[in-house]
């Protein structure tokens, strides 16, 4: 699938998952699977990226937002994100919103 098509797609966090941010002092970030009960500890960057998918906007806008947030070039971000995205889609954390 070409990049242009992916850019127009909307990916969101699956209903089976829930993000949780601990209190500010502890900097705890978690992803809960509310169907299977699994708990994943996240780092702040992963949390921020996943959180950005909750806005229900095309991937291109998610990228724009993250580019600004992390002050990185879009190409670099796409490169860094591609493996992560693939993994999250594969295990069902992110789903395509038709």
């Amino acid at each position: 699938m070409n990049l242009f098509v992916i850019m127009q797609k909307i990916f969101t966090l699956s209903d089976d998952y829930m993000l949780y941010r601990g209190n500010d002092e502890e900097k705890d970030f978690f992803l809960f699977n509310v169907s299977a009960g699994k708990i994943f500890k996240l780092n702040e960057t992963s949390f921020t990226i996943l959180e950005s998918f909750s806005e229900n906007v095309p991937f291109s806008i998610v990228l724009d937002n993250l580019t600004k947030k992390f002050s990185v070039e879009k190409d670099v971000l796409i490169n860094d994100l591609s493996d992560l995205m693939e993994k999250w889609i594969k295990i069902g954390v992110l789903v395509e919103n038709e």
């Binding site: 829930m18 949780y20 601990g22 209190n23 502890e26 705890d28 978690f30 809960f32 699977n33 509310v34 169907s35 299977a36 009960g37 699994k38 708990i39």
Partner: protein
Amino acid sequence: MTTLINSGSKVKNTGFYIQWHFLESCNLRCRHCYQEDNKAKPVSVAHLNAIYDELSKTISTWKMNGRISLTGGEPFTDFEKLLHILNKIEEDETFYWVGILSNGTLIDDKKVAELAKFKKLKEVQISLDGGTELVHDLTRGKGSFNKAINGLEKLISAKIPTAVMFTLTQENAGSVPDIIDLADRMGTDALTIERYIPLGNSEAGLLKLSAGKLKEIYGQVKQKKKQIENSGRKLKIRTSRPLWHLIDESLGGFCPVGYSSLCIMHDGMAYPCRRLPLPLGNVLNDGIFRIWYKSDILWNIRRKNRMKSLCGTCDDLGLCGGCRAAAYAENGDYLAQDPLCWKYKTGGL
């Protein structure tokens, strides 16, 4: 698991406690009871199995040490179903500890003999609301004291670990020394003195405690507890709940609600606590994971900084947190101040 959501509480993160009200029928009509109606609907074995499977799956996925109490209504009103659940637990690795919470009035030799077969049955708790027949029967009905004592004696004779639960009201507060002496004399293993929460059809006007009375009673209990401990006798008076630390800093602790406990009703509906009537979802439809992770009510209880009034800013927040059920019963707001806390009470107690 609870370390995810816990900050500075005394609750340990290795155990999870479930109070399962697997049926709602009861043979008594106690004046302090929170049960809304007494039209008990029958529960099928298939239904019980489905609920049990969900509980077991949850605890094993979390890899926690599961503790479960079976209660009702009155669990001995359907002894066959009680035995059915006990058998399931005995054969399953999920729960290492089982308790039964009962009014004790339906316990006989035959039932005790059956109970004695279960290795995981670690406690049968009998409710006694007075140290004398007169006081107890005033709350629970004529003849109930003698029946409960009879049931308790049979359990003790069979060497089944026992506990007494005393629900403290304004009316029976004077009976606290008697109930401690009775539990001690009979040889029960533990005694819990739990304050009455005015809910449902209970007679709140007559039974509701004041903060001053609670302080006075907790002070008396502490003295008795020390005497018993110093004498080396076996009765343990449990004082691990909110507000006890105001009597003695070595006592008290956070309520596990929202961290490591859940109440499940006969129909599968989950509540934070039986005395906090806020439905969280049905474990058969929603599953416990979804309820546990997604409930705003549970997150509000866990995040102590969301508490309103003086509980939220109290210096003792890391030790106590108050009783959320008491706050709800008094104010209709489970994040409000614990109404029986005497620390910040101004004016009369």
